[in-house]
């Protein structure tokens, strides 16, 4: 432990979206998320770099900051760390100032501010490949002479792109042997903490730094103002007041159509595989406890969740491409006015968009929002964005109850319903934000100040890594927590064993059956039977568990031996269309994930907001499901 702390500490610092995390991944072999917009990293991440001499270097990735005077919680982390304000953490031995080679004008100002703090600084001139392609005469050695700091060239998104930085760190800063406490560059040159704070807070220095940067750029022949770039030409269309929103709408719509249509063959293949496994187990084992555990619990439960892997992969492929290309901040730009009308800024867009994957990173990403009130509102409405865990529930119900026909050229009804459910979540979020604005009042000034980065062609390597991670996470979830909950649910649904001659399915006699009947008192008015009521309970752990839970509960209540692992035909027979629609409406709003509430508690540092979140979501979900159930019964008849 003490030996580990004695290893040299290197911190990656720079403006947002300059490629710090990409370099961190290259240095430490990590796979932290990278994307083309400001504010992807909102926490400090630590990793280790093993030098060839056998020593170790601790590497810290910090959130991006425009200056050393923090405005947002994520910038605060970086500043506290660099200025050594954290009690348990030493100041870094070396600061790697990461700069975007295509945009030295802004990035070099932060380098100058870091240099004034007196700690050793190495400049990592990132994205040199892009800069050269644009014809900028980048010369690392000359830049180093002008700055009076060592400068190395890096390419964050290419394997081996951090070689020069790695060699520099090894040569200059690695401890000679593992665990040795000697630090080649002592902290004695660094200014004291108080001095550092006052240097950082000095506003006049910004203008002086600007002149110095101009001087340096002038000497290096880099002071030209860039002409019309390809990015600008794309923006002329994408940010067009009329064409822009249209492109955004069509993109989103196509995404949901594709998620439905393209995933079908793969999903059918997985379903067939699980059915075959169930048949195999049924044949190999005698009817009894173990067979029931494997068929009804594991295959019908966890297996029916695994079926949705192809859709999750497709959804994430779309999201990752959008993230990597740099389109997301443009979407935020287009939606800013709309969000402003409910009292939010475009800054809330990216946290909310992350919530389409999972509300937890969305809630963390709200740290990039400078305004405290906006931040709380964003956290409160983030769980209304349809997270990927809701996708299996939606798909199961839509696939079972909505006919697969087309309602126009290339527009399937099922995809349309899915789009409508996502839209309902967004609409609900806007309504809640608007209500909060009315109840609590909004501030007059909402700064936006959002960087619109240069477009990049999405990197296949990044996309591949991202998708593999998603698959791993999903499969791990199915194999661990979902499997464990399914086994428990199977146990509760099988014991106590019904006495011989019990009329009706044995599951009604079990613990789960009795608990379900109790809960059904609450949920019967909105059209849920006891099987749904009991499935909602393990669904608190993770939304997609409800699909597996329905699989297990129905598999056990089936009198004949149905094909296991296939929930759809069972619920198609058992439920009315009204019940299915009510359950869909419930899941648009339901407070169904403990991790989200815990994340909200951590980020707001009180139980007040998570409690408010759970309460309003439950009320909304109950009302929406009840309304849907009764309206559709009135419309379609009680059948």
């Amino acid at each position: 432990m003490s030996a580990a702390l004695a290893d040299p500490l290197v911190a990656l610092v720079g403006n947002p979206n300059c490629g710090k995390t990409a370099l961190f991944n290259l240095l430490t072999g990590s796979r932290q998320k990278i994307a083309n917009y400001a504010g992807v990293t909102v926490e400090r991440k630590e990793g280790r770099l093993r030098t060839r001499a056998g020593g170790q270097i601790r590497v810290l990735d910090l959130p991006g900051a425009y200056s050393l005077r923090p405005r947002t919680p994520d910038e605060q982390i970086t500043c506290d760390f660099v200025l050594g304000r954290l009690p348990d953490e030493p100041r870094p031995d070396v600061v790697v100032a990461v700069v975007d080679g295509t945009n030295l004008r802004r990035h070099l100002r932060l380098v100058l501010a870091l240099k004034r703090l007196g700690q050793p600084v190495v400049v990592a001139l990132n994205m040199v490949d892009l800069a050269r392609r644009r014809g900028l005469p980048i010369d690392a050695a000359a830049l180093g002479r002008e700055l009076g700091l060592p400068v190395v060239e890096t390419i964050g998104i290419r394997a081996g792109g951090a070689q020069a930085l790695l060699e520099h760190l090894e040569r200059e800063h690695a401890a000679p042997e593992p665990g040795s406490a000697s630090r080649p560059l002592s902290a004695s040159r660094a200014v004291s903490l108080d001095e550092a704070a006052s240097i950082a807070a000095d506003m006049a220095s910004v203008a002086a730094d600007q002149q110095e940067v101009e001087r340096i750029l002038g000497r290096l022949g880099l002071d030209g103002v860039p002409a019309d770039t390809p990015s600008d030409r794309i923006d002329r269309v994408v940010l067009h007041p009329l064409a822009g929103p249209l492109i955004l709408g069509v993109t989103m719509f196509l995404m949901f159509q594709a998620v439905f249509a393209w995933a079908q063959p793969f999903m059918q293949a997985i379903t067939a595989l699980i059915a075959a496994l169930a048949a195999l187990v049924g044949a190999a084992l005698p009817a009894g406890l173990l067979q029931s555990l494997l068929v009804d619990g594991v295959l019908a439960g966890a297996g029916s969740v695994l079926v949705f892997l192809p859709q999750i992969v497709l959804l994430f492929a779309f999201i990752l491409v959008l993230e990597d290309s740099g389109y997301l901040p443009r979407a935020a730009f287009l939606l800013d006015r709309l969000m402003g009308s409910v009292g939010l800024s475009g800054r809330s867009f990216i946290p909310l968009l992350s919530s389409f994957a999972c509300a937890v990173p969305g809630i963390l990403a709200a740290r990039t929002i400078p305004n405290a009130r906006d931040r709380i509102v964003t956290i409160l409405i983030a769980p209304l964005m349809t997270c990927s865990a809701r996708l299996p529930v939606y798909t199961l119900l839509i696939g079972t109850f909505v006919p697969a026909r087309t309602v126009g050229p290339g527009v399937g009804l099922q995809g349309l319903v899915l789009f409508a459910l996502y839209a309902a979540g967004v609409g609900g979020a806007f309504a809640v934000a608007w209500l909060l604005k009315r109840l609590r009042g909004a501030n007059a000034l909402h700064p936006l100040q959002m960087e619109l980065p240069t477009y990049h062609v999405p990197s296949l390597r990044n996309l591949g890594i991202g998708l593999v991670q998603r698959v791993e996470v999903f499969v791990r979830r199915v194999g661990t927590i979902i499997l464990a909950l399914m086994v428990l649910l199977w146990f509760l649904s099988s014991f106590p064993v019904a006495p011989a001659g019990y009329p009706g399915p044995a599951i009604e006699y079990s613990l789960a059956g009795r608990l379900g009947s109790l809960l059904a008192v609450v949920f019967a008015p909105i059209g849920f039977n006891w099987q749904i009521s009991i499935a909602l309970v393990p669904g608190m752990a993770a939304r997609e568990v409800v699909v597996g839970a329905l699989g297990t509960v129905y598999s056990l209540s089936a009198t004949g031996r149905d094909v296991a692992g296939q929930v759809a035909p069972l619920i198609a027979r058992a439920w009315s269309l009204s019940t299915a629609l009510a359950l869909l409406a419930w899941y648009v709003f339901a407070p169904q994930c403990l991790s989200t509430l815990v994340a909200a508690r951590r980020e707001t540092n009180s139980w007040r907001y998570p409690a408010l979140m759970a309460a309003y979501q439950f009320a909304l979900a109950y009302a929406a499901a009840g309304l849907t159930y009764h309206l559709s019964r009135w419309w379609l008849g009680p059948a």
Partner: protein, 72 residues
């Protein structure tokens, strides 16, 4: 397969699932107090596993874990 072996396998699976679900879902405070109560009867590694910090599994890569605090 004999009936008692079948029961043993099923009981083990249910017990392991319950332990895993507790670890994954129970609030940190509960886990720590349970670990305290069992301290001395279970090996250290088991206690740390029970009380250890669990991150959100849904949100992808976790921040690299810092030094973990022992529960005792």
């Amino acid at each position: 397969m004999s009936a008692w072996l079948e029961r043993l396998i099923v009981a083990a699976a249910v017990f392991a699932s319950a332990a895993y679900a507790f670890k994954a879902l129970a609030p940190f405070g509960w886990r720590v107090s349970l670990a305290r109560r069992l301290a001395g009867r279970l090996p250290d590694r088991m206690l740390i596993w029970l009380a250890g910090q669990s991150a959100c599994d849904a949100c992808g890569p976790r921040p690299t874990a810092g030094p973990r605090r022992s529960t005792r």
